[in-house]
């Protein structure tokens, strides 16, 4: 992030003005950093930096406000969609997005996300699915794959006792209040580009007052998957996408 280009250099990839430039605290190979960057780039691209209110959540992304340079409020664990609802109703003229992990959104916050979507709140939720509770040490999440070993499913997730993983994007797409729901990944340049396009669309849904917009990012957690960054990246593209197919599940954005 440092300094101005030298005489023989040119800027190919500047930090968006919507980001602070603070160095990220995530583990090596974690995808949260890439997703933060996309969130910031799309805010800048749509000229939303000065009109955005960000709703943070509880998980490895709790410090999102240190990286994205917009007004922000912290929500209790799982409650970001309710807080975002309160913010949007108080300031309908502002752009409001929440950023949540899969423990936060699909476990403790399941009720809040479903009802926020169902009301068709005109907000955007960025959902980061890494199949575990990252921050608390890699416990089983509602998105953990069947058979996946975690610190609370040492023998692997068991369908009979733990149920099957939740496919949030498909569930949310089934609700009438939803204007846009998509699942993307950031494990390859191609996927990052597609992810950015989908995120743009989600933002547009809100700017055009079309209803609730939802975007799920499949995300690597090398630390809790006990993989190195490259293995974890591959695991997203080879294994996660089997259970969590990439795609747009609902799109009524004009």
């Amino acid at each position: 992030m440092s300094g101005q280009p030298q005489a023989d250099e040119r800027v190919a990839f500047a930090l968006p003005r919507t980001m602070t430039g603070a160095s990220l605290h995530f583990c090596p190979g974690c995808h949260h950093g890439i997703i933060h960057r996309l969130v910031g780039e799309c805010l800048e691209k749509n000229n939303l930096g000065e009109s955005t209110i960000c709703v943070g959540s509880v998980g490895c992304s709790v410090f999102i406000y240190n990286y994205i340079d917009v007004d922000a409020v912290e929500a209790p664990h799982g409650r970001a969609p309710a807080v975002a609802t309160g913010v949007k109703r108080a300031r309908p003229d502002r752009f409001v997005f929440g950023y949540q992990g899969d423990g936060d959104l699909a476990a403790i916050g399941f009720s809040e996300i479903m009802h926020c979507a169902n009301r068709g709140e005109n907000v955007t939720i960025v959902f980061v699915n890494n199949t575990v509770f990252g921050m608390t040490g890699g416990q089983m999440a509602p998105t953990t794959l069947v058979g996946q070993r975690t610190t609370t499913s040492p023998g692997g997730r068991n369908m009979n006792t733990d149920g099957a993983p939740l496919n949030m994007s498909e569930l949310i797409a089934s609700l009438e209040g939803t204007a846009f729901s998509a699942r993307v990944a950031v494990n390859s340049i191609k996927n990052i580009k597609q992810g950015k396009k989908a995120l743009q669309k989600a933002y547009r849904a809100q700017s055009g007052e079309q209803g609730f917009s939802f975007i799920e990012f499949l995300s690597a957690c090398p630390t809790n998957w006990k993989m190195d960054p490259l293995q974890a990246n591959e695991h997203v593209g080879q294994t996660l996408v089997q259970r969590f197919p990439l795609g747009v599940f609902k799109d009524i954005v004009e």
Partner: protein, 359 residues
């Protein structure tokens, strides 16, 4: 704030609160149905919306209190209301709002517990209201109206206090207050809401640095410093102490009671006065801060009895206030039973006789 008289009507306590909130410039209200407070959301679903405000019936009390947090972060006058079991669910959000220093009004028209309890009157939530209620070392201001008029007036006051201290304010009533109808004199005033949150509310970082509202303090010493600032704020709340006194000029027995029970006890005290007993009443209007200095002063010249519609909660605060000076007797009507002025005569007279015997 400037005020002028408004209409007079026969109004239920719950509606008085709703009307008070509208008079105070309520902008957002977040509901979830529960008896005996449902008149508040029913009233506001019509009248707040007609005034261009935002009304949401949320999916739960947890959601409604977090919507409140979001609206409060934008500096809007916002409120939620519920009754005991629902207020228990709201504690997460109340703790976060206290930690994030957000102004909001939370109304508890309390009912009998524990558990599903009953929908009868109860003062069983005194501890919960006055000790913060949720996790962490924080307090909310707590206002305890005893009449419909006071419910209206104190709701307006609650918003002023919430924004002055940047802290959640709890209005603690009960089924008696919520369901009772009395003449209400409304008054109109122009709350100065335009600038009251201008230097901290979230509105998008235009022509200023970005703002952050949070309760997380991870750095070394940061949380300790934050808690010390909150503690200093709790101390500052003492300036807003409020209570009612009745017949205390020459009293020898002092009854301490709050809310609806304070009002019922006043009838008992009036009756005993008419029979020549020198008894008086102190009714705390703010439960936090608690009028402990005044109680202590009166404890020098009075035998004390605390009367509550529970098994003994505020009596702890009365005893703490009077420590090393006097004790307080206690008479409790169990939650689920509606007390009458006659119920209190005998317990007060017993304390009177103890005082006579001592003399």
């Amino acid at each position: 704030m400037s005020s002028k008289p408004g209409p007079i009507s026969l109004t239920k306590g719950n509606e008085a609160i709703a009307k008070g909130a509208l008079a105070a410039g309520l902008h957002c209200y977040f509901a979830y149905p529960i008896t005996p407070q449902s008149d508040i959301p029913e009233y506001l679903s019509k009248h707040l919306v007609e005034r261009g405000g935002e009304f949401i019936q949320a999916e739960s009390e947890i959601a409604s209190v977090n919507m409140l947090l979001g609206a409060a972060a934008c500096g809007k006058r916002a409120m939620t209301s519920s009754s005991s079991p629902g207020i228990a669910l709201k504690q997460e959000g109340i703790s976060y709002m206290a930690g994030s220093e957000l102004p909001a009004v939370i109304v508890n028209i309390s009912r009998g517990g524990p558990g599903l309890g009953s929908i009868d009157p109860s003062q069983g939530d005194y501890y919960q209201a006055t000790r913060g209620g949720g996790h962490g070392d924080y307090r909310t201001l707590v206002l305890a109206p005893s009449t419909c008029q006071e419910a209206y007036d104190l709701t307006i006051r609650a918003f002023e206090l919430a924004f002055y201290h940047r802290n959640p304010v709890v209005i603690l009533g009960d089924a008696i207050l919520g369901q009772m109808k009395e003449p209400l004199k409304e008054w109109e005033y122009q709350p100065n809401t335009e600038r009251e949150a201008a230097d901290w509310a979230l509105s998008g970082a235009k022509d200023r640095p970005s703002r952050l509202i949070k309760s997380l303090y991870l750095a070394d010493e940061a949380l300790a410093g934050h808690n010390e600032r909150l503690q200093a704020k709790h101390e500052r709340m003492r300036q807003d102490l409020d209570w009612e006194e009745y017949a205390t000029e020459d009293s020898e027995v002092l009854v301490v009671a709050f809310g609806s029970v304070g009002r019922i006890a006043k009838s008992s005290v009036r009756k005993l006065r008419s029979q020549g007993y020198r008894v008086g009443l102190l009714r705390p209007i703010t439960l936090f801060p608690f009028p402990e200095e005044r109680i202590r002063e009166l404890a020098w010249s009075n035998r004390l009895i605390t009367i509550e519609n529970n098994t003994g909660q505020m009596v702890d605060d009365v005893r703490l206030a009077a420590r090393n000076v006097a004790d307080s007797a206690f008479f409790g009507v169990s939650p689920g039973r509606l007390p009458s002025p006659e119920d209190f005569l005998q317990p007060i007279l017993e304390v009177w006789e103890q005082e006579e015997a001592r003399k």
